[in-house]
């Protein structure tokens, strides 16, 4: 007896996370976050208040029947469903992920749709899955007509930002990033590993992982959302500091340019806050090299120092006019 959702063992899980600033002047509180992410009326939005405010939408499915992206040009048709979900951190950073798992092989005919629907998030290949080529293909991005995870996560994001709760008055300008990930499945008992994190151009990041079969794809997606969130924070604050023309700009201008970081971003740094316990330690690799938190600490210190320096003339002014 096959339990629904437990189909043939998956050998690969892949996804894409889009991360951006919520287009709203005010950060959303827990209730509003739950309202925004209520993709279905009959299912709960998961809301956490510790250690930070974090809301996770129900998962929705998109049916696909198309070629899988492959790096070697192999043509593999896949049929099944891709899971999409969205998360909002501290009512400020909105992320959407699309992900799927794939078994090593599948039949050469398409089965009744009900077969795929009881395996949410599984895309079955026709014939044998070229595992490495598919993992590489997803990371590189597919060609025309290939399975497009980016389009699915972008579609969800587009749906969410049309929500009437949002006033489209973002407090500062920022760019979205997208992070693609691929996790090869390893036998039970092996330790999960983060093999590569690549910072590419135009906001693209890729992550390669190895994860034992027992860890659900949703947990891997959660880890990658966490990585994407913190990478976005670094990217955004670095950009903000560059634009503030630190040192060159006159006092008030620098303060104005940096203030959004203090108001909206500095408190968001909290690696592995909502990451599955079995995967949290994968952060350690990135902390050693390049040192995500180290860089963040440095940025935060620069911003604080800058604001402190700018405060001195104001203090003088205040004292002299007494």
């Amino acid at each position: 007896m096959a339990t629904p959702g437990r189909s043939a063992r998956s050998v690969l899980a892949c996804g894409e996370v889009r991360t951006g600033l919520l287009p709203s002047f005010q950060a959303l509180d827990g209730r509003a976050a739950a309202q925004l992410l209520r993709l279905r009326a009959d299912e709960h939005v998961r809301v956490s208040e510790r250690p930070n405010l974090y809301a996770l939408s129900p998962e929705v499915l998109t049916g696909v029947d198309c070629r899988l992206p492959t790096s070697n040009g192999a043509k593999v048709r896949g049929v099944g469903t891709v899971i999409a979900r969205a998360a909002l951190t501290e009512g400020r950073v909105l992320q959407s992920t699309a992900y799927f798992s794939a078994p090593a092989d599948g039949p050469d005919v398409r089965r009744p749709w009900g077969h795929y629907l009881v395996r949410p998030g599984v895309v079955e290949p026709f014939g044998k899955l070229p595992e490495q080529a598919t993992a590489d293909g997803v990371l590189r991005g597919g060609g025309r007509g290939d399975l497009d995870l980016g389009m699915i996560s972008e579609g969800l994001l587009a749906q969410l930002v049309r929500h009437p709760l949002l006033d489209h008055k973002a407090p500062f300008k920022s760019r979205r990033t997208h992070l693609r990930w691929a996790a090869r499945r390893t036998p039970e008992g092996q330790e999960p590993a983060l093999d590569r994190f690549t910072l590419a151009q135009d906001g693209l990041r890729t992550v390669e992982l190895r994860v034992p079969e027992s860890i659900p794809a949703g947990a891997v997606a959660g880890l990658c959302e966490d990585l994407a969130l913190h990478d976005w924070l670094l990217t955004t604050v670095v950009h903000m500091l560059e634009n503030s023309r630190l040192g060159a700009a006159d006092g008030p201008a620098a303060v104005l340019a940096l203030r959004p970081a203090v108001d909206h971003l500095l408190h968001l740094w909290m690696p592995r806050a909502h990451v599955d316990r079995a995967l949290g330690h994968l952060w350690d690799v990135l902390e050693r090299e390049p040192g995500f938190s180290r860089q963040w600490e440095n940025l935060r210190q620069r911003i604080r120092d800058q604001l402190a320096i700018q405060a001195i003339p104001l203090l003088h002014q205040a004292l002299s006019t007494r």
Binding site: M1, T3, E43, V64, P112, W113, L117, G145, M151
Partner: protein, 327 residues
């Protein structure tokens, strides 16, 4: 690894399970004109149904190895598309005629309960769970079921305008899971009326099947929970009748691993549409797992695909017994 010390209930909401019988047996479906035709028509109906009830019970018993199966029976009255008489008048009549034929109705439901039950918009929720079967070539664009209100089992006919001329060539529709040739079906899920959205009969029947299969939840809680009938008068107004009523002290649950629906063969097209819908509903995965685990533990594993759990007996319409003078 140790258990987590800290837990937030809002971060980890559970899904309640529901009690489950082996089989939920529906004792036919009648249109308003059947009720209008008087008690003789009902009598004929239940006499025919009785035969298939026995057959369905025997089949359920065989499936569980000859033991006594838990079979609950139900009857659905249409108060959604047309309203006829009152519960106080009609229900005793139905119960009396069923009893006369030796058929026991355990649960009685109103069709509007499949649209809205206890202020929960069931049909709306199920509509949001539709995941269209993707025709080949679908690589991630979201199909707009919620815009069109139609659901098909393949690709529709689309007039293709050629680039050069005003010539419109006809493209045949195509069933996605066709074997050699297509049997294409397109089902209207709702229509918009002055009074709001009117759900179609197949769509409400799909909701009804999901309820009978124990697969509906609202925020993790069971929906369409049967209310016991204490034996008093039935109300004068359909709206005051609970959406699902338990008529006797049967201990067999309303929902079941499988459903069997006994109906006249004029309903065949509707039920084919119901299966088309069921095949494209992404039901609550925890509810699905609960059913799978429990049925497997009892040694009566359910078919994986939800639509496969619904079975039918289509019988010939009983002849109209009314005499020539129209009584």
């Amino acid at each position: 690894m140790t258990e987590a010390v800290f837990r937030e209930t809002t971060a980890d909401p559970g899904t309640q399970s529901v009690p489950l019988a082996h089989l939920s047996l529906e004792l036919g479906h009648l249109y308003m004109e059947d009720f209008e035709a008087g008690p003789e028509r009902l009598r004929e109906h239940f006499a025919e149904v009785r035969i298939w009830v026995d057959a369905a019970r025997a089949s359920a018993a065989r499936r569980i190895g000859g033991k006594r199966p838990r079979v609950s029976t139900c009857f659905l009255i249409d108060d959604y598309f047309s309203r006829f008489s009152t519960p106080a008048e009609l229900i005793p009549l139905v119960l009396e005629e069923a009893e006369r034929a030796g058929v026991v109705i355990d649960y009685l439901a109103r069709e509007s309960g499949c649209a809205v039950a206890d202020r929960i918009e069931l049909a709306e929720s199920v509509m949001h769970r539709l995941v269209e079967s993707p025709p080949p070539g679908s690589h991630g664009s979201r199909p707009p079921v919620s815009q069109t209100g139609w659901l098909a089992n393949g690709q529709r006919t689309s007039p293709n305008r050629s680039a050069l001329a005003e010539i419109v060539t006809w493209q045949p529709p195509q069933e996605t899971a066709a074997r050699n040739h297509s049997v294409f079906m397109d089902v209207e899920l709702w229509s918009e009326t002055d009074k709001g959205r009117l759900w179609s009969c197949p769509f409400l029947a799909a909701v009804w099947q999901l309820a009978r299969l124990g697969l509906l939840r609202h925020l993790g809680e069971p929906v369409l929970v049967p209310k016991p009938w204490t034996g008093g008068e039935f109300p004068q107004d359909w709206d005051r009748l609970p959406p699902l009523l338990k008529l006797n002290d049967s201990r067999v649950a309303f929902s079941a691993y499988r459903t069997c629906t006994l109906m006249a063969n004029r309903f065949l097209a509707v039920e084919d549409a119901v299966r088309l819908i069921l095949d494209q509903v992404d039901v609550d995965s925890e509810a699905l797992q609960q059913v799978a685990k429990r049925s497997a533990a009892e040694g009566v594993a359910v078919p994986e695909a939800v639509a496969q759990r619904a079975t039918y007996v289509f019988y010939e319409e009983p002849a109209n017994p009314s005499s020539p003078d129209g009584s």
